[in-house]
């Protein structure tokens, strides 16, 4: 079935390094993508989103890249800090007509560990 998935279940980086978390999706009709951060014992926290008419979007210390040709999404975190340690989920939102609804399909998540 169609799904959103992540290449690596875990990623370990040194404090101060840049982190890149990858995500592959299979639904070419998806038009909106979101990255969430989930710390232990908490709900997912919105980080950044991107629409399908864009290739790149930057936030504070984060950048999301979208490659529609190969259906690939990535999250780049600059100067990674210990507080960035969490599970990161990518999600796709098909949006579209109201009758079809709008909901998120999540990948399995990548556990990012930042070593001091």
């Amino acid at each position: 079935g169609e799904s959103v998935g992540l290449h690596l279940p875990t990623l370990s980086v040194q404090e101060g390094d840049n982190s890149i978390i990858n995500c592959a999706y299979s639904n070419s009709a998806s038009d909106y993508f979101i990255w969430y951060k989930q710390e232990s014992g908490k709900g997912p926290q919105f980080i950044i989103d991107i629409r399908s008419n864009m290739d790149k979007r930057q936030g504070q210390r984060v950048t999301v890249l979208l490659n529609k040709t190969v259906k690939h999404l990535s999250l780049q975190i600059a100067a990674t800090q210990p507080g960035d340690s969490a599970v990161y989920f990518c999600a796709e939102n098909r949006g579209g007509r109201e009758t079809s609804g709008s909901r998120l399909t999540f990948g399995e998540g990548t556990q990012l560990t930042v070593n001091p």
């Binding site: 908490k42 709900g43 629409r51 098909r94 109201e98 709008s102 999540f106 990948g107």
Partner: protein
């Protein structure tokens, strides 16, 4: 309220008992979503509401699960005759609307359900 509020935050119940989980979305948000997350897993869509109606109930795992929303605000998720496999975190989320792609979806902290 400022964010999505869920209660109870933790619930331990005996197998076979019914449980009710409550979600209070962000004020003004017409769309409300329920997801389930098992330990160490991604998020599984259950149901969403647009206003008080639920156009998509396809994610509900069985007829023991039901949800309602009244007054376009608070929603309750009810699990009847709970089973041990129902143990999970039940996450509620809300967004301004459903029909337009790109409405940010905000999550609550979840209700942690343990069935013993």
């Amino acid at each position: 309220g400022a964010g999505v509020s869920q209660s109870p935050s933790n619930k331990v119940t005996e197998k076979g008992k019914d449980v009710e989980l409550r979600c209070d979305p962000i004020s003004g948000h017409t769309a409300l979503y329920w997801y389930r997350q098992s330990l160490g897993q991604g998020l599984e869509f259950l149901i969403y509401f647009q206003g008080n109606s639920a156009p998509d109930k396809s994610g509900l795992p069985s007829d023991r699960f039901s949800a309602e929303r009244t007054g376009g605000s608070v929603s309750t998720l009810t699990i009847q005759r709970t089973q041990q496999e129902d143990s999970a975190v039940y996450l509620c989320a809300s967004s301004l609307a459903v029909s337009s792609s790109g409405n940010t979806i905000y999550f609550g902290e979840g209700s942690w359900l343990t069935v013993v």
